[in-house]
Amino acid sequence: MSLFSLRPAKRPLRRVVLLGATSAIAEQVARRLVAQGASLYCVGRQPQKLDALLDDLNVRAGSAQRIDGSCADLTDSARHAELIDAAEQHLGGIDAVLIAHGTLPDQQACSADANTALEQINTNALSVISLLTHLANRLEQQQHGVIAVIGSVAGDRGRQSNYVYGAAKGMVAIFLQGLRNRLAGANVAVVTIKPGFVDTPMTAGLNKGGPLWATPERVAQGIVRAMHKGANVVYLPWFWRPIMLIIKHIPEALFKRMSL
């Protein structure tokens, strides 16, 4: 903090790795970062989507910015180290990482079949924990950086309508708490992002509209701001914080009878 400013300095986001970059929220984050002058390394699963994203970002970027990426299925944790190496090489260093990949599972399918449930836990939690372990060690060594992960308000409390997704997001949130604690002395910020309902293709099956739904643009704006600040836990939009505070404090005896 400078002597003359009450605000802590913004953390630089000049070289950023986006994992799950073709998700609707990550794509908006990418546009915002590129507009601020960042170089990006984007990892996505589908080659056509990734190419479309990279073309678009290249049109937006200035001549000194580097926009690159590669195609990978992030549930394959054997490739994680190699991917992070490639990103570091392309960017010439890493200032920040956003982990944005994930799926919204059908709870009924997960309830019916244990393998489906485990697959979802693998996609939404275990693959994230693997990536985080690799990234934490590198950023800790370089003594600066931002690690941001898109979680969900669903991870704050288990509900019958999507507790497999909620459990995965909750696991990641607790892992991030520990990581934040570990890296606090290493000048590495660990940002847990908890969006509410966002109008994206992932939520195509839901009935949308109404005041609780946010656009990916709005959520992306909040994510970039939180990453610059090095915030800890961010609800997006902000009103989910009081909503989840109430939901978390409903006594279990009552909660278990509610249809949520």
Partner: protein
């Protein structure tokens, strides 16, 4: 939430909506047909609506594909808005060579309605600046076409109201500018007779011209108004600062705030605004898009919505028919807030169903007062039809089929190009 068009009329619900996010991915077979693309809902009426089948929401297709800053050629997905394009290209010295009065329309919508701007007399319509289109057909094929396409797909799709298939990509030729500003001038004219010579002179000297008319004024003041003209400012202009004002219409009143009293007051004040015969500088945003400054301005017309009415009258009949139209409106005291008068140039139409053609165009809007409004519009139809004119499909929710067919004589030839898996409420209304 059911998608609407900008005038919020008619309110119809499709069987399904489907948000497109990936260009080239096509549309799943399970979705009910017919299909119709719906961009940012900036057209008025029902060219972007359907009561059957599936509305394809195209705003997720908003990526840039390639931009050549040397030549000003941009390729993008069709769901990008004109605002998206301008934000990218204006700082690099390129402007849309043709722009409608809102920058929230999508590029695909601008093509499908072959929109025009204040510079039609020198630049033609939007379709004249499209170099290439990618069209997805419901049989899974993809058609690539440009202005020299011998198959006719290009001429059918430009102004084709989204009926020839889904426009996925558009390549545009932009025009060079030196900065985001315009030299503009404005003059007050005391009645319609004074407008014509003033307008002729302005058109000979300026690339952009448009007039606002006080359509409540009667007698010797009938057709009084303000003529505005502009040109892109030179490189060495001394430019002021510009900060865009962002206001929004926060509520959705149950009735229209545009009524006899508010209109009379507005028009009287607007007519007396200071004019700039000697010229001044204006940033491109307020010059081209004055209404974009108020988000949701369409709410001022209340929940019942409003009708736009835009006609074009051939040159021979323009002066007399325009006077008759203003007479009819003033007689019924249903004045319009935004009465806009402009003459088109002689560029041959870019599309088979293009609206812009030689003549004078008058654009009006009226709060929806049910029968009273319908019967006024029917009176206006008679005048337009007798003068050999046409109405603008992009701004129509009610024109009779006969008026469409007489105004767009190529409609039958056009219908050969319609994708059998596509339709709109508009098309079902104006054709057998």
């Amino acid at each position: 939430m059911t998608p609407l068009s900008w005038n919020r009329l008619p309110k119809v619900t499709p069987n399904a909506t489907y948000a497109l996010t990936q260009r080239g991915a096509g549309v799943p077979d399970r979705l009910p047909r017919p299909l119709l693309a719906h961009g940012n809902g900036r057209s008025y009426g029902d060219v972007c609506l359907t009561e059957h089948g599936t509305l394809l929401l195209t705003r997720g297709l908003d990526r840039f594909i390639e931009f050549d800053p040397e030549r000003g050629i941009l390729r993008c997905e069709a769901g990008a808005t004109l605002a998206d394009v301008l934000a990218l290209t204006v700082p690099q010295g390129w402007f849309l060579p043709c722009t409608p009065g809102t920058r929230w329309a999508t590029v695909g919508g601008a093509v499908a309605n072959d929109v025009h701007g204040k510079n039609h007399h020198v630049a033609g319509s939007f379709g004249h600046h499209v170099r290439h289109l990618t069209l997805w057909r419901s049989d899974g094929s993809v058609i690539h076409c440009g202005p020299s396409d011998p198959g006719g797909w290009f001429a059918a799709t430009v102004g084709g109201l989204g009926l020839t298939g889904l426009i996925q990509q558009v390549e545009l030729q932009l025009m060079p500018i030196h900065n985001p500003w315009l030299n503009m001038a404005s003059w007050r004219f005391t009645n319609l007779d004074a407008f014509w010579p003033l307008n002729r002179e302005a058109e000979a000297n300026w690339p952009y011209t448009v007039a606002w008319i006080d359509c409540l004024a009667r007698g010797s003041a009938q057709g009084r108004g303000i003529l505005m003209a502009g040109q892109h400012a030179p490189a060495q202009a001394r430019l002021p600062n510009f900060k865009e004002s962002r206001k929004r219409m926060p509520i959705d009143p149950p009735f229209s705030l545009v009524n006899g009293i508010s209109l009379r007051a507005f028009n009287a004040l607007y007519y007396r605004q200071p004019t700039h015969p000697a010229g001044t500088l204006s940033h491109y945003v307020p010059f081209f898009y004055p209404l974009d400054a108020i988000q949701h301005w369409n709410r001022i017309y209340g929940r019942r919505g409003f009708y736009q009415y835009q006609c074009v009258i051939p040159p021979e009949a323009a002066e007399s028919a325009t006077a008759e139209l203003l007479n009819a409106i003033a007689r019924r005291r249903q004045g319009s807030f935004l009465a806009v008068l402009k003459t088109f140039g002689h560029a041959p139409a870019a599309g088979m169903l293009s609206f812009a053609r030689p003549g004078t165009t008058l654009a009006l809007d009226f709060p929806n007062r049910g029968r009273a409004t319908q019967s006024l519009l029917a009176d206006l139809d008679t005048i337009v039809s007798q003068a050999g004119g046409a109405l603008y499909p992009a701004k129509d929710a009610r024109m009779p089929a006969a008026l469409f067919q007489s105004g767009f004589p190529q409609w039958e030839a056009f219908s050969e190009f319609i994708d059998p898996g596509f339709s709109s409420r508009f098309w079902q209304r104006v054709t057998p």
